[in-house]
Symmetry: C2
């Protein structure tokens, strides 16, 4: 890769997370499926919020979390996403810029409010999400500037964007620009149900990109199977580089016929798994844009994931620089 | 005390805390005095916010924190304070109601936004605050309803309220109502500089109340002395019950000529001291409204303070009920 202004440009939903602890029985009663993300409208969001306990607010969004993590590691990143002109939008914007992410997408005025995600954290630290997409629905190809994509080694997009009609044209434009300028494209499957909603579109996309992120459940969902090894055998080679996270089993990287394995880091006490996959991508992409070997990339990914699950929320309050050994 | 609808009604600033970690050199450069609270206008708040690192948002406000803590312990409480009709106001309101605090003050429309407090947490976990008082400046005697004060065993007010002109008439009304109905009044000195700004008013008040909370630094500030024992000898007897928190030295309670001492709880790792004094008051008032002896009140206060300093922010994400032994 030639030296670029940005290591990674990312396009994603610009969300503020509203975190609270809950019992698993609450999830069942509300029809929320543990460890997954459910899209909800504003009314249901208000209803669920009223039932939530004491909250903490923290900026979120999958690709946004990854870029914030990369910036905290020392990388140069740019984020494209849509907030509204409101207090949550101000919080999201501040938190991106505070860690050094370039973020200059124009806020939407007069439409829906900034997206919020109700993150319910169970006693086993697993998180279940209910997202009101709000102003994210207004992201469009007007937000994709050729200059940004041209000057980023990698353009990173999240599967969640497929849930938003306008976003698809933005993604198409970004992919076309990345290809035009010989830049790489990375993509995350995001969520098991997201995969289920957009399986065909994702298969088409995977043949067109360079780097794919998934967790074990998402990869199995892609092939509608319970057999992880089968899913791995199917996905291998469909994309040059595939990084799969496996929670306490660490992560594996498929590059053509080779497989790199990286064991999980030891974590004394898991507080909240929110952002584990996002921060894995931070570490992996950080290493990759610095030309590290794949195992080292995966190991830094594991280390970043291990760090974020000791904190509440998906943005590290502590700078991550020290994790780069 | 007769059985009342509420154990405690509290009047205080309704604030959302914006927490970030910082170096002590940042505080010095910005002229912020460690461990204290500085009042700032909206412009300076925006300027300091731009310089803050990754943030987490969490409801705050001193008396509000105390009532939320008491509710989490299992007490019945009502809060009086002013938010604006905005997203931060919604967050504050949610977090009060989520733990069971009665909060029905009407939000202000069209004026300043909901108050925010930039909480800078140093590497030694001590917190330094810069508060934009926003909509809190609009609290007035119209917000004090006789029914609430009449039906609360204790009315609790914070020294910070003296910084807001309108609030003073609200406090006077609340005190008059509490006295009219034979209810007790509790008061916290809030902050060393707050004491410095309102020393004479506080002295006058102290002669009129039943329970006073202070930390060591605030009590010394009240008597402009560095000698804690001297300050204790001066304050003794000026108010029937005086609870003084002393950080790692625990707390003492002065009741007439007697002194009760309660050692601090062991804390493995202090994350953030924000809310330590507020949560001490939660535990102390919880015990007091249940007729506990003073040492037991102070011990629960210490236990609540110990719990909150293991978390970021002044509202416990975990219910506090288990702390009531």
């Amino acid at each position: 890769m030639t030296k670029t202004l940005y290591d990674v440009a990312g396009i994603g939903n610009a969300i503020v997370d509203v975190l609270s602890f809950c019992e698993d029985s609450f999830l069942q009663k509300q029809g929320l499926i543990k460890n997954s993300m459910t899209l909800i409208d504003q009314e249901r969001s208000a209803m669920l919020y009223r039932m939530a306990g004491q909250t903490t607010e923290c900026s979120g969004g999958s690709v946004a979390n990854t870029l914030a993590g990369m910036a905290s590691l020392g990388a140069k990143t740019a984020f494209i996403g849509k907030v509204a002109d409101d207090q949550l939008g101000d919080i999201f914007t501040h938190d991106m810029r505070a860690v050094g992410v370039h973020f200059s997408s124009v806020p939407a005025i007069g439409g829906p409010s900034t997206a919020s995600c109700l993150v319910f954290v169970s006693s086993d630290a697993h998180r279940t999400m209910a997202t009101f997409i709000g102003a994210c629905s207004l992201v469009s190809e007007d937000d994709i500037h050729e200059y940004t994509i041209q000057n980023s080694a990698i353009t990173y997009i999240e599967g969640y964007l497929w849930d938003t009609e306008n976003a698809k044209s933005a993604i198409r434009k970004a992919i076309a620009l990345a290809k035009k300028h010989g830049r790489k494209i990375a993509f995350t499957l995001s969520d098991v149900f997201c995969v289920d909603r957009h399986r065909e579109a994702f298969f088409e996309l995977i043949g067109n990109i360079d780097i794919m992120f998934a967790n074990e459940a998402e990869l199995k969902s892609l092939y509608k199977t319970d057999d992880f090894d089968y899913a791995v055998s199917k996905i291998r080679g469909r994309c040059p580089l595939i990084a799969v996270t496996r929670s306490e089993k660490g992560s594996i990287v498929l590059a053509g016929d080779t497989t790199e394995e990286a064991p999980a880091e030891y974590v004394a006490k898991v507080v909240d798994t929110t952002g584990a996959g996002d921060l894995y991508a931070s570490g992996f992409l950080f290493g990759l844009t610095r030309g590290w070997d794949l195992k080292s990339c995966a190991m830094l990914g594991n280390r970043c994931a291990a760090e974020i699950i000791t904190q509440l929320g998906a943005r590290s309050m502590r700078p991550l620089k020290d994790l780069v050994a």
